[in-house]
């Protein structure tokens, strides 16, 4: 049962990154590719109806993690205290940038909101990448299953890590570049004209960077956590995942160069899911490895909630997910296709 919940949480996190990823990515690039007010409004219109729903996946995944692995939630959230507080503040600023822009028509303030939206999106992408890097690298857990990391110590990977060291910084940059490409491909899908052209150009520039960084991060991971390959050796079927990652990168290039906008975006989705599933596969059955020694690691076994709760949860989780899927299909169908700005629309987009 704990294994099923491990998979469920991993999938929910992947869906969150996939969905909120494109609006984070769109935020990260919009300062550079959307130049006029009309273009900026088009970008916001492209994510406006869906970004909030996408962010709910963060809450739903967080809630599911809390419910299925309470000790993991308690330990990791208190240990990553400082970066999480900053994530909260960034999420706030970003929401203000998106939602309140259209209430204020003055040019000066629109620039202000656009900058907030852009900068907070970029920082969030880096933070999320670094967070994942921390989980893969391991944290200094004590015998009670708790730890606390300052933002940085000596930037080296060692027993007393900080949140940021050279490895997690690489992870942060990989996340940023991935989401930049992801967001650009999404915008290319949702827009036409010069905005579409520039979005595709950004995706073309960053694709080679993404390939290089993917390779670099994989090498760095094997160097920092050598046992990361254990599960792959044990269950060779796992190698499908890295193959999928490479395949999706190649297909992204192929589809993109043929102006298959949908195909390129889907390839980017596959890439993200592949990277995250690959990491989860390598971690299992650990959920938070200890840099202080494997006996302190948090696993699905020592963090899971009681059997009755997990069993009941599976029932309502399934119902809830089916409902959520229906809403999302409905919502995305409603706002499908390229964005057209409606003049004088009631919401001002």
């Amino acid at each position: 049962m704990s294994t099923i919940w491990f998979m469920i949480v991993a999938v929910m996190v992947a869906i969150y990154v996939l969905l909120d990823g494109f609006d984070l990515g769109a935020g990260a690039v919009h300062l550079f590719i959307a130049r006029t007010d009309e273009e900026r409004r088009t970008v916001i219109r492209a994510i406006g109806p869906v970004w909030d729903g996408n962010e709910v996946w963060l809450l739903a995944a967080g809630g599911t993690l809390y419910f299925a692995f309470p000790l993991l939630y308690a330990s990791s959230f208190s240990g990553f205290y400082l970066p999480l507080m900053m994530v909260l503040w960034l999420l706030m600023l970003r929401a203000l940038g998106i939602e309140f822009r259209h209430y204020i028509q003055e040019r000066v303030w629109q620039g202000f909101f656009d900058t907030i939206f852009g900068v907070s999106s970029i920082l969030l992408a880096i933070f999320f990448g670094a967070a994942l890097g921390n989980v893969v690298r391991g944290v200094p857990l004590n015998a009670d299953g708790y730890f606390f990391e300052p933002l940085w110590t000596n930037w080296r990977v060692g027993a007393q890590n900080g949140i940021l060291d050279w490895y997690t910084v690489i992870c942060g940059v990989v996340a940023l570049v991935t989401l930049v490409v992801h967001g650009s491909l999404y915008l290319a899908n949702k827009t036409d004209g010069p905005l579409n052209f520039r979005a595709r150009k950004v995706a073309s520039w960053f694709w080679p960077v993404q390939v290089l960084l993917t390779i670099l991060s994989l090498i760095a991971t094997v160097f920092v956590v050598p046992h990361v390959l254990e599960n792959y050796r044990k269950w060779p079927i796992g190698y499908v995942v890295p193959a999928l990652v490479i395949g999706s990168l190649a297909y992204m290039y192929f589809a993109h160069s043929r102006r298959n906008e949908k195909g390129a975006f889907l390839a980017s989705c596959t890439y993200i899911v592949g990277m995250l599933v690959g990491a989860a596969f390598a971690l299992y059955p650990n959920v938070l490895p200890a840099s202080t020694g494997p006996e302190f690691s948090l696993t699905i076994y020592n963090t899971a909630a009681g059997a009755h709760g997990l069993g009941v949860g599976f029932v309502w989780w399934t119902i809830g997910m089916m409902l959520a899927a229906v809403y999302f299909v409905f919502l995305y169908r409603m706002f499908r296709g390229k964005v057209q700005l409606e003049e004088g629309s009631e919401h001002g987009y």
């Binding site: 939630y73 959230f77 999480l84 209430y103 706002f335």
Partner: protein, 459 residues
């Protein structure tokens, strides 16, 4: 209290109090918007659509701030209260996760459709989105109340080998009787905020002679619903909560009433300042035997006093608890009086001309916020010194690994961030109220105006 515990408590108290200023309005406005949309659908009167659109904008601003200040609440269970989460997560993780899955998805999806989709959706579907937003926000409220109710009155759990609590009965958790009464009380409190805000904006328009027709709709819908929910707030919901307290948290009730000694025929304190050290009340104004009657339905019944339990089990801040409770009840009584007089004037068709009443209604809007906040402070300071009543003390629940220094860092950060949010919020809401509901150009036929109970001579 060591300084780390202090700052964790301060931060949670501040962020949750601030957060709840926004959901109480969105949960309160949601049913009112459904009423306006229903009236629009039934009467085919464009003015109700305009009214709904106006309130949807106010709703939207509140919703955004409610969401962004709500995410920290879920996070803080782990970041600041990790030991509590480890201890109780096996139970309350259920309700918190269900909120995300059932309420947030529903609410966010249909709010997107409601705010962005009026032109794309048919009238019926747009009404349906409003209904689903209402449903989503009210479900969200239920899951949170069920979580808090479990902390007040733990049910359906057992202690696992490692000392943490595990769920044994899902239905006991969901159908906790404490949750139902607390929910009913809380939701009618939220609707009181919604109605008084709507009425205040209407009164402001009538007083300043702008958007007069819309102002009348706001005042009319507002006061009628306000009277209804203000009554519900006292009977049965408030009354039932009081009786539940007497049975399950007698110390809390004793502290709320500053009742020191166990006694038959206990009085109800209306006014007076408690003096905890001397165990007395300065200049008390009491109704003899009333507390016994209200809690046990018998004038002579015995009510437990504070001295019936050791001091270490008393709520820590008895004066604060006493005052928040009395402020809540006092304001609740005023809400009934004001909405009753306003409804009477409406019935006599004198309301819109009564400028004094418009001033009263305008100035009333902050008080439901105060009453709701005071009510929550009563519930939460009343539960002290427990975090989970009878099972885990507050001083044992916080994150021991997060130092006071890191706690103050984030607490000050929240203070700064929320100041910015407040400035922006007030500015945006003022703009919306200034701009008002869009004018409806074609004037209505006289019959329609008569049907709507609006005297024709004014417009």
């Amino acid at each position: 209290m060591n300084s780390a515990l202090l700052v964790h408590r301060l931060q949670f108290a501040f962020t949750v109090t601030y957060h709840y200023l926004f959901p109480q309005l969105t949960m309160g406005l949601a049913p009112l918007i459904v009423i306006l949309k229903t009236l629009a659908l039934k009467t085919k009167d464009e003015r109700y659509d305009a009214a709904a659109r106006f309130w949807a904008k106010i709703f939207g601003i509140n919703f955004v701030i409610g969401v962004v200040t709500g995410i920290p609440m879920e996070f803080q269970f782990g970041t600041n209260w990790s030991h509590f989460s480890r201890f109780a997560g096996g139970v309350i993780g259920q309700t918190l996760a269900m909120e995300g899955l059932f309420a947030f998805f529903l609410e966010s999806t249909f709010l997107g459709l409601f705010l962005y989709g009026e032109k794309r959706l048919s009238k019926g579907l747009h009404w349906f989105s409003a209904l689903m937003v209402f449903l989503g926000s009210w479900m969200s409220g239920y899951f949170i109340i069920a979580t808090d109710a479990w902390m007040q009155h733990p049910v359906g759990y057992e202690r696992a080998a490692n000392g943490s609590l595990q769920l044994t009965s899902f239905w006991a958790l969901i159908l906790n009787p404490w949750a139902w009464w607390q929910y009913a009380h809380n939701m009618s409190g939220a609707v009181i905020t919604g109605t008084f805000v709507m009425t205040a904006v209407g009164a402001f328009y009538l007083l300043s002679e702008k958007h007069v027709e819309q102002g009348r709709i706001f005042v009319r819908v507002g006061v009628i619903v306000a009277l209804f929910v203000s009554l519900l707030q006292i009977v049965p919901t408030g009354d039932a909560q009081g009786r539940m307290l007497a049975r399950n948290q007698p110390v809390t009730l004793a502290a709320m009433e500053a009742l020191w000694d166990t006694q038959p025929g206990a009085p109800l304190v209306i006014l007076g300042q408690p003096d905890v050290a001397a165990q007395k009340i300065d200049n008390p104004l009491v109704i003899p035997k009333m507390l016994s009657f209200l809690t046990w339905r018998s004038w002579g019944a015995e009510v437990k006093g504070l001295n019936s339990v050791p001091k270490e089990d008393w709520p820590e801040n008895i004066p604060l608890l006493y005052y928040t409770y009395h402020i809540m009840v006092g304001l609740g009584t005023i809400f009934i009086a004001v909405s009753a007089v306003a409804t009477f004037l409406l019935w006599r068709r004198k309301l819109y001309q009564a400028r004094w009443m418009m001033w009263v209604l305008l100035l009333m809007f902050p008080f439901p916020y105060i009453a709701n906040t005071a009510g929550w402070m009563t519930a939460e300071t009343g539960r002290q010194p427990w975090l989970v009543y009878g099972l885990l003390r507050t001083m044992d629940g916080y994150s021991k690994m997060v130092s006071a220094g890191n706690g103050w860092f984030s607490f000050l950060g929240f203070l700064g961030m929320y100041t910015v949010l407040s400035v922006l919020f007030l500015f945006l809401v003022r703009r919306e109220i200034e701009q008002g509901p869009e004018p409806v150009l074609p004037p209505l036929p006289v019959e329609a105006i008569e049907m709507l109970d609006i005297p024709v001579e004014v417009r």
